[in-house]
């Protein structure tokens, strides 16, 4: 399955919906979207990965890049993910300590409000 991207604003936080496979072929599209959102001054991001079927280290690199961009503006990039097969790559690479990973979009947004 190819990559489908969408985004919307909820309570002042930009939520990015990602569906499909994030790999060396599709990751550039997600990178472009994150860069575009940051360029438009969206510094509080939630990336909803509940419909992501595949994620590799190229995709991780895009997420880390997005995180660094928003942090440069005192923002944050949190993830929504409960799928074990996707969480596994975050655990292997130690990136569970870098990203806030939540079970739902509402939980991620609530956590940003704290």
């Amino acid at each position: 399955m190819d990559l489908k991207l969408g985004h919307y604003n909820k309570d002042g936080i930009e939520v990015v919906d990602v569906e499909g496979e994030i790999d060396v072929y599709t990751a550039p599209r997600l990178r472009e979207l994150l860069i575009d959102l940051v360029n438009k001054k969206n510094y509080q991001l939630v990336v909803n990965m509940e419909k992501v079927e595949f994620l590799d280290s190229t995709g991780l690199g895009v997420l880390v890049g997005g995180l660094k961009r928003v942090r440069a503006h005192d923002g944050s990039l949190d993830l929504v993910c409960t799928q074990e097969r996707i969480l596994k790559i975050f655990r292997i690479t130690g990136l569970t300590k870098v990203f806030g990973i939540h079970a739902t979009v509402d939980e991620a947004i609530a956590d940003k409000d704290k």
């Binding site: 790999d23 690199g61 130690g94």
Partner: protein, 156 residues
Amino acid sequence: MATVEVRFTPLPAHVRTARLVATAVARRSGVDESLLDEVRLAVGEACSRAVESHRLHCPAEPIRVALTDDGERFEIVVTDAAPADVTVTDALSSAAPATAGAAEGRMGSALVVDGVVQQLPAGVGLAVIVGLADDVRIVPSGRGTSIAMSWKRRTL
């Protein structure tokens, strides 16, 4: 002798094809269903790394993927033709510290533009492979490098 061999030009779009073939052959070979996601991710990492190396050094050369079932183990060997000294240096650059470096802002050999990481170091992909496969061997092969990954078959 390999059960299935795939050769593809070093285009990112073909990595998905390699993943699909590897997963299908692994399933047919009797690799446990619970391990198929790991096979898919590991072969994807190895092929992505090979594609990046080929695009830099030898874009006209194909990448080879050999999938072998010897009755006890299922093995995937991804062989590139990029200069071995470059790829082996990438491969053997400490994967775990590179990963930690990415997390802490020390980017190692990551592609960084305007101070922002665009691509994690090659060592991260290798760290993922090591974390997924039962056994991993990274060896020079001809002009390039081979990454051999294997998984035990389930008892049939």
